[in-house]
């Protein structure tokens, strides 16, 4: 298996850009446009120093064009690198697409975006690993949080709702105060102290027994092993009927594609266990795509 080197791909793209006829045209055009704007600006504000404004505008225009080119190289490098990296492993890769929005967590945030979709990494169909972006607006500002998400659908519904999320004292307080207004109950305490220290397990009110039946000792041990493998990952597991989404708060970088292998290795035992519980494999990719927003 020959895997591409990120720096080689980047150098190749940079060479490609510098040799392309259109790029230098763009830089020249930027310089001319900047000079023109500088000329008019200088004429209005300081007629005696027009020449300086022309030169400054030229420099700024050219610089803007160079920056646009650099940004374009970076985005193309990311796509090229992941395409080749996935192809080397006989996986499929899509640079862009709509995010999945079929679980409560994947629906959260004011806006959502997605990218870097990988599939075909396991023999069973229907598994998609991608970068999910949750965007929260605060006035004019936008806060983007990146998650790596493994999404798949089981062959039959396993449980109406199960959420295993990182422990948050703020959320727990909010649930105590307003939990009765929602259908989701507060924490379901399982027998493991260590699990309770890291995760908040919750399900539908009055259906705690279903959660307890599913989370057997060996299931709890699998979750703890995941936590030990990725102690600062803010891991989250959601099952909504037959839809499953695992997520961790991580940003995927082409410079460190090993993150994908690490996550898949840690998620695999939990996914296998859920498939066994559901009785068979996952749904086909076409069915699994149903949860993506359009």
């Amino acid at each position: 298996m020959f895997e591409p080197d990120y720096h080689e791909v980047e150098a190749e793209e940079r060479r490609h850009l510098l040799r392309s006829f259109g790029y230098w045209d763009l830089v020249a055009l930027g310089a001319v446009a900047g000079a023109g704007l500088g000329f008019f600006y200088g004429r209005v504000h300081e007629p005696s120093g027009e020449a300086w404004y022309v030169f400054a505008g030229m420099a700024v225009g050219a610089l803007c064009a160079l920056i646009v080119g650099w940004a374009k190289v970076q985005s193309r490098v990311r796509e090229r690198f992941f395409s080749r990296w996935a192809a080397a492993r006989q996986w499929q890769y899509e640079a862009g697409g709509e995010p999945f929005e079929d679980t409560l967590f994947l629906q959260s945030g004011d806006k959502r975006a997605a990218g870097d979709f990988f599939s075909g990494f396991w023999p069973e169909p229907g598994f998609v690993l991608y970068q999910h972006k949750r965007i929260e607006k605060s006035g004019d500002d936008e806060q983007v949080t990146n998650y790596m998400v493994l999404h798949f659908s089981l062959s039959r519904p396993l449980i109406d709702l199960l959420q295993i999320s990182p422990r948050s004292h703020t959320i727990e307080l909010g649930e105590k105060l307003f939990g009765h207004l929602t259908g989701i109950d507060g924490r379901i305490e399982l027998e493991s102290t260590e699990l309770d220290e890291h995760f908040r397990v919750s399900g539908l009110r009055g259906r705690e027994d279903e959660v307890r039946r599913l989370l057997t000792p060996s299931a709890i041990v699998r979750l703890l092993e995941f936590q030990r493998g990725l102690p600062h990952g803010n891991a989250r597991f959601e099952i909504l009927g037959s839809t499953v989404a695992f997520s961790v708060e991580k940003t995927l970088s082409p410079k460190q594609p090993q993150l994908i292998d690490q996550l898949l290795e840690l998620w695999r035992p939990i996914a296998v266990w859920l498939m066994e519980e559901a009785g068979s494999g996952t749904q086909s990719p076409a069915d699994a795509d149903g949860g993506r927003s359009s």
Binding site: E191, S192, T193, E194, T216, P217
Partner: protein, 176 residues
């Protein structure tokens, strides 16, 4: 009056800390007990499988009567023991004997192909996994509880409040 207020405030703070420590210790001790109940449930599942295994294998392996009686003896010993320390040794021996019995049974081709043996073998493997997992959870809870009980400042008042260290369950589970 000021020194009196200071003393009262100190008593109040110490009392609050004691109450919080006590509540935390009670929660941790309950978790240890809950996890032990889980271990017990899984061990009982293992015990219940032994007569079924004997019943299935007996028909095919008539020369293994000694093995079956040994299994029955170990099962009875394990059932009579109670508590993590007392159960450790007999459960460990029972697990090894059970693994040995499965290995012996696999030596009989007709038995190896029998559906009821295969499903029982699967059930035993699943139960052993659950026993191992329940033991990991129990020992994890004991470790957290004991650390709390044996470290300052709780260790100063743990005995006073009636909290002693809990015992680990050290069974050897099929080579685990």
């Amino acid at each position: 009056m000021t020194p009196l207020y200071v003393v009262l405030a100190l008593f109040a703070v110490v009392g609050l800390l004691l109450a919080l420590s006590f509540n935390r210790l009670v929660r941790l001790r309950n978790k240890v007990r809950e996890a032990w109940q889980d271990v017990d449930v899984q061990l009982q599942r293992r015990h219940d499988l032994i007569p079924r295994l004997v019943e299935v294998v007996e028909g095919y392996a008539v020369h293994e009567r000694e093995l079956f009686s040994e299994l029955a003896r170990l099962r009875s010993e394990a059932e009579q023991a109670s508590g993590a320390i007392a159960k450790s040794a007999p459960e460990s021996e029972l697990a090894l004997a059970l693994a040995g019995a499965i290995a012996v049974a696999e030596g009989y081709p007709s038995l190896r192909a029998a559906d009821n043996f295969l499903s029982l073998q699967k059930e035993i493997a699943e139960t052993e996994n659950e026993v191992a997992a329940a033991r990991i959870i129990y020992n994890g809870n004991v470790r957290i509880y004991n650390t709390r009980v044996q470290t300052l400042p709780v260790s100063l008042c743990a005995d006073l409040l009636g909290f002693g260290p809990a015992s680990f369950f050290q069974a050897e589970l099929n080579g685990a």
